[in-house]
Each structure stands twice: as structure tokens, then as C-alpha cells.
């Protein structure tokens, strides 16, 4: 009974994904399921559509820029939180995680107003700044989990053996933090690549990232091109999550074990 309900609910959760993948191989522009044949023409369309090429390039630049900034900033913050007194740390953590609870349209319109006032909307700088702010909470949270599990005596041992603080950090702390930082990187990349609402407000046709370009396409056209692009996104994400679960113990991040 429970098993049946769980299977039905999992089917509900995965049904849209299955349909998207199936439709992406549809040979005609009229959507049909199951597909009447197999064709890769929509994948060709994805790769050759100039606006998607531009948006993919923008996505790459914005995500790379945002992650490159957020990773060291977030890691430093997690180390800082661990060194502070618990009460102060939990207060600062609340401040650092607060962007998570802000509705996307509020942040988006806010960044639009500021970006327009500074005359920066034609560059990608506002997009990158917004993405840094949006992925930082994920980086801090993942990094903090590993920082808290760190044994401080190891760093002290390195120091007592003559290592400089920087050397102790590089040779002892950083390697121990690696699983947590990999999880942080994974979150940051996925959140940034998929960010949509805030980016919609602060993008122009020239700076828009892939989700925004996909949105515009869906509103204007009905052919399965977006199904093909979505399939590429889904396959990429699934691979990342599967690898992460194999190597990083996602359950340890999300669930409590006794």
C-alpha cells in the first residue's frame, strides 16, 4: 500500500522529465507523445540558434564569474563562523543565509533599480553581482558543515611542527575540507546555471543567460527545441547529482543519521 503510493508519487515527480526527453526526439514541430519517430533536428536547432549560442556564452561567463568569487568568499566566511563564539556565529550565519528567503521578484527589481541608476545594465556585472549574492548562502552552508567537523588539533599539530599558518591551511585544512567544498561548488554551479527570476529582471537581449533565453523562446514558439535543450540540462544535472551522491554522501548533507 505504502509502496504503491510511493511509486505513484515518484511517477508523478518524474513524469514531466520523461515527457520532455521523449518529445525532444520528435520528428515534427507538432508536439506528440509518444513520438512518431526519432529525429535529432531539435538538437541541431538548439546548437545553431544564435540567441542560444549567445545565451550559453553568457551563462558560462556569469556562472564562472559568480562561482569564482563566491567560493573563496564563502569558504572564508565558513572558517570565520567556526572561529567565532557559537552565539555570534549563529547570528552571522542568519545574516549570510538571509538572501535565501527573499522572493526572486523583490531581489530582481531591486537589482534592476540599482543597475539602472549606476548605468551598468548593458554589461554582465550586475548579473554576476546578483549571482554571487544568490549562490553565496549555498556555499557558506555546505562549507560550514565540513568546517564544523574539522578537528582543530590537526591544524595546531601542523603549527607546532613548524608550519606557517598559510602552509597549515594549504596542506592540512584545505585537503580536509575538500568534500564539503566540492559539494559547495556543485550547489553554486547548479543554482547559478538555473537562476531565472532575478536574471530576467536584469538581463538585456545581449546579456541574457540560458534560462531567460529559454523562457523567451517558450513564450514565442511551440516547437520541441526547448525540449531538446531541457533534455541536455536534465542529463547534465542528473549526472552531477548521481556523481555527487556516489562520492559525497548527499544523504549526510540532507538527512540526520542516528
Amino acid at each position: 500500500m505504502l509502496r504503491l503510493a510511493v511509486l505513484a508519487l515518484l511517477a508523478f515527480m518524474t513524469l514531466p522529465t520523461v515527457v520532455v526527453v521523449a518529445v525532444s526526439f520528435n520528428p515534427t514541430a507538432i508536439l506528440s507523445f509518444p513520438p512518431t519517430g526519432l529525429s535529432l533536428r531539435w538538437y541541431v536547432n538548439v546548437v545553431t540558434y544564435p540567441q542560444f549560442q549567445r545565451a550559453a556564452w553568457n551563462s558560462l561567463l556569469v556562472t564562472a564569474g559568480a562561482v569564482a568569487l563566491a567560493m573563496p568568499i564563502g569558504t572564508a566566511a565558513a572558517l570565520g563562523l567556526a572561529r567565532g563564539r557559537p552565539r555570534a556565529a549563529s547570528l552571522w550565519a542568519t545574516v549570510l543565509l538571509s538572501p535565501l528567503v527573499v522572493p526572486g521578484v523583490a531581489a530582481g527589481l531591486g537589482f534592476l533599480i540599482v543597475g539602472a541608476a549606476l548605468g551598468l545594465l548593458r554589461s554582465r556585472s550586475v548579473l554576476i553581482a546578483a549571482h554571487v549574492a544568490l549562490v553565496l548562502p549555498f556555499v557558506v552552508r555546505s562549507a560550514w558543515v565540513s568546517v564544523r567537523n574539522l578537528d582543530p588539533t590537526l591544524e595546531r599539530a601542523a603549527a607546532s611542527l613548524g608550519a606557517t599558518p598559510w602552509r597549515a591551511f594549504r596542506r592540512v585544512t584545505l585537503p580536509l575540507l575538500r568534500p564539503g567544498l566540492l559539494a559547495a561548488l556543485l550547489f553554486a554551479v547548479i543554482v547559478s546555471l538555473n537562476e531565472f527570476v532575478v536574471s530576467l529582471f536584469i538581463s538585456t537581449r545581449l546579456t541574457e543567460i540560458l534560462p531567460v533565453a529559454m523562457f523567451t523562446y517558450v513564450v514565442n514558439y511551440t516547437d520541441p527545441t526547448i525540449a531538446a535543450l531541457s533534455t541536455l540540462f536534465i542529463v547534465g544535472t542528473f549526472l552531477i547529482v548521481w556523481l555527487a551522491d556516489r562520492f559525497l554522501d548527499l544523504g549526510g548533507v540532507f538527512l540526520h543519521h542516528r
Binding site: 505504502l2 508519487l9 515518484l10 508523478f12 515527480m13 518524474t14 514531466p16 522529465t17 515527457v19 520532455v20 508536439l31 563566491a70 573563496p72 568568499i73 564563502g74 572564508a76 566566511a77 572558517l79 570565520g80 563562523l81 572561529r83 545574516v95 549570510l96 527573499v102 522572493p103 526572486g104 521578484v105 523583490a106 527589481l109 531591486g110 533599480i113 540599482v114 546578483a130 554571487v132 549574492a133 553565496l136 557558506v140 538555473n194 527570476v197 530576467l200 529582471f201 534560462p211 529559454m214 523562457f215 517558450v218 513564450v219 526547448i226 525540449a227 531541457s230 536534465i234 542528473f238 547529482v241 551522491d245 548527499l250 544523504g251 540532507f254 538527512l255 540526520h256 543519521h257 542516528r258
Partner: protein, 264 residues
């Protein structure tokens, strides 16, 4: 500690600057046909009370309540299985299936529902796409991963010995669930429901695409005002209301669940 936190706090300061610009615009007068603003006014907030916008507020609250209730019912069995399965393989599979849509962005998920609801797979007896019903389905699907994770975390806190004890004393499985498991998982139920409700209040992509302009929630009105009418003050007022309600709800749930988080 200070030095290590400074860069992160600068980032938060940039974010706060954007929100304070939003707050400032929400009390500035809108000059039609211009991005310039006039003097101080409360007209943007009183404008929300007008007939056309109040409908969107009402629809948003109703859809959010329905989404929360349906998401809770649909997520509980999956969360229970996830927290209680003895098999590591099943747990891993459930976790990946739960998390995968969590990581598939809003556009991909919503587009997928456009295909399903738009008579591509089956022909629906009643119209689904571009109706509140269709939006509801999309919103429930969108909220399930979050709810499942929060519920599973709460259920995994419950010692299975309590359930075994109740069963050995003669309680039927239904009674064990109703009298032991359900009450003990209440922290997860409350926090999950409030979080899903708060997030649905400011949902954007799902109603925008599955509503097709016919179903408007608060965030869609903000977009229309800001990006179509260039009425940034009007959009800002709506966004400020959404922000205030969301923050209040989530701050409330933070206080409710804080003690539970500290227990081992």
C-alpha cells in the same frame, strides 16, 4: 573572525542595497511614461487594494494554501519511505529521484508541465493548461522536493522503537501512524508547510508559463508592472509586500524549529 567574514558581509551589503532601493522606490510617485520618479507617496500601496490587483492577491493566497495542503499529503509517503527504508540502494535511489527535480531549473520543469498539461500526453477531460488547476499541479510538483526533504529529516529523528513499542502493545499500523509517527513528525510538518506556503506566495515561473497570462499571482503582477508598464514604484510596492510576508512567515518558522535543530 571579522577579517574572514568581511568579504561575505560586503556581498550581503550589495544585496541589502538592492533591497533598500526597492523599499525607496515603493514610496516614490510613479510618473507615467518615464523612469523618473516624483515625490514621496503611499499611492503605490493603496493601489494594491484596487480591484484588479486584489484579485491577484486573493488567487495567490488560495493557490498557496491549496499547494501547501496537497504537497504535504503527496510528500509524506515518499518522505517516510526515504527516512525508514532499510536498504541503502533504495534510499539512494529515492534521494536522487527526489533531488533531481530540485536541481532542474524552474524553466525546464515548467516547460515539461506545459507539455503534459497541454494535451500532448493524454487528452484532459477539462482544460488544464492556462488554468488555475494546471498552475496548482505545477506548484505542487515544484514544492515536493523541499517538503520531502524537510519531512524526511523530521521522520528520521523519530526513534523507530516508539513505533515498535506501540505496535507490540497492540496498536494497528494506522493507529501507530496516527498516534505516534504523525505527532512526532509535527516539527517537520509545520516547518515544511510554512516554507512551502511562503515560497508559493512569491512563485513566478510556474504561474507565468502554466497560467499563460490568464492566471496572475503577485510575482507576475510585479513583472507586468516593472517590465511592461515600466511602473517600477508600483512593482516595488507589490514586491515589498511579498517580501514582508515571506520574511515574517520564515522568521516565524525559524523560531518554531530552532529548538528541534539543536537536539541530537
Amino acid at each position: 573572525m571579522r577579517l574572514l567574514l568581511t568579504p561575505a558581509l560586503l556581498v550581503v551589503a550589495v544585496f541589502a542595497a538592492a533591497l533598500s532601493a526597492l523599499l525607496r522606490y515603493s514610496v516614490l510617485e510613479f510618473v507615467p511614461g518615464s523612469l523618473q520618479t516624483g515625490g514621496l507617496t503611499v499611492a503605490n500601496f493603496t493601489g494594491i487594494m484596487s480591484r484588479q490587483y486584489l484579485g491577484a492577491v486573493w488567487d495567490t493566497v488560495l493557490l498557496s494554501l491549496a499547494t501547501t495542503a496537497l504537497t504535504l499529503v503527496a510528500s509524506y509517503p515518499v518522505a517516510y519511505a526515504l527516512a525508514r527504508t532499510p536498504s541503502a540502494r533504495v534510499r539512494s535511489a529515492l534521494l536522487v529521484l527526489t533531488l533531481a527535480p530540485f536541481f532542474t531549473g524552474a524553466i525546464v520543469r515548467t516547460y515539461a508541465w506545459m507539455l503534459v498539461l497541454g494535451n500532448t500526453v493524454v487528452t484532459w477531460p477539462v482544460p488544464m493548461l492556462f488554468t488555475p488547476r494546471g498552475v496548482l499541479v505545477g506548484l505542487v510538483h515544484f514544492s515536493m522536493p523541499t517538503m520531502i526533504l524537510l519531512l524526511a529529516a523530521a521522520i528520521s529523528h523519530i526513534d523507530p522503537a516508539y513505533e515498535r513499542a506501540a505496535a507490540s502493545l497492540g496498536a494497528s499500523p494506522a493507529r501507530v501512524f496516527r498516534r505516534v509517527t504523525l505527532p512526532l513528525s509535527m516539527p517537520g510538518i509545520v516547518s515544511g508547510s510554512v516554507i512551502v506556503f511562503a515560497w508559493t506566495l512569491s512563485a513566478f515561473a510556474t504561474p507565468e508559463l502554466l497560467g499563460g497570462g490568464r492566471v496572475k499571482m503577485i510575482a507576475n503582477v510585479v513583472r507586468d508592472l516593472a517590465l511592461d508598464s515600466f511602473n517600477w514604484p508600483g512593482g516595488a510596492a507589490f514586491a515589498v509586500v511579498a517580501l514582508a510576508v515571506t520574511m515574517a512567515l520564515l522568521a516565524g518558522v525559524g523560531r518554531l524549529t530552532a529548538p528541534a535543530d539543536r537536539s541530537p
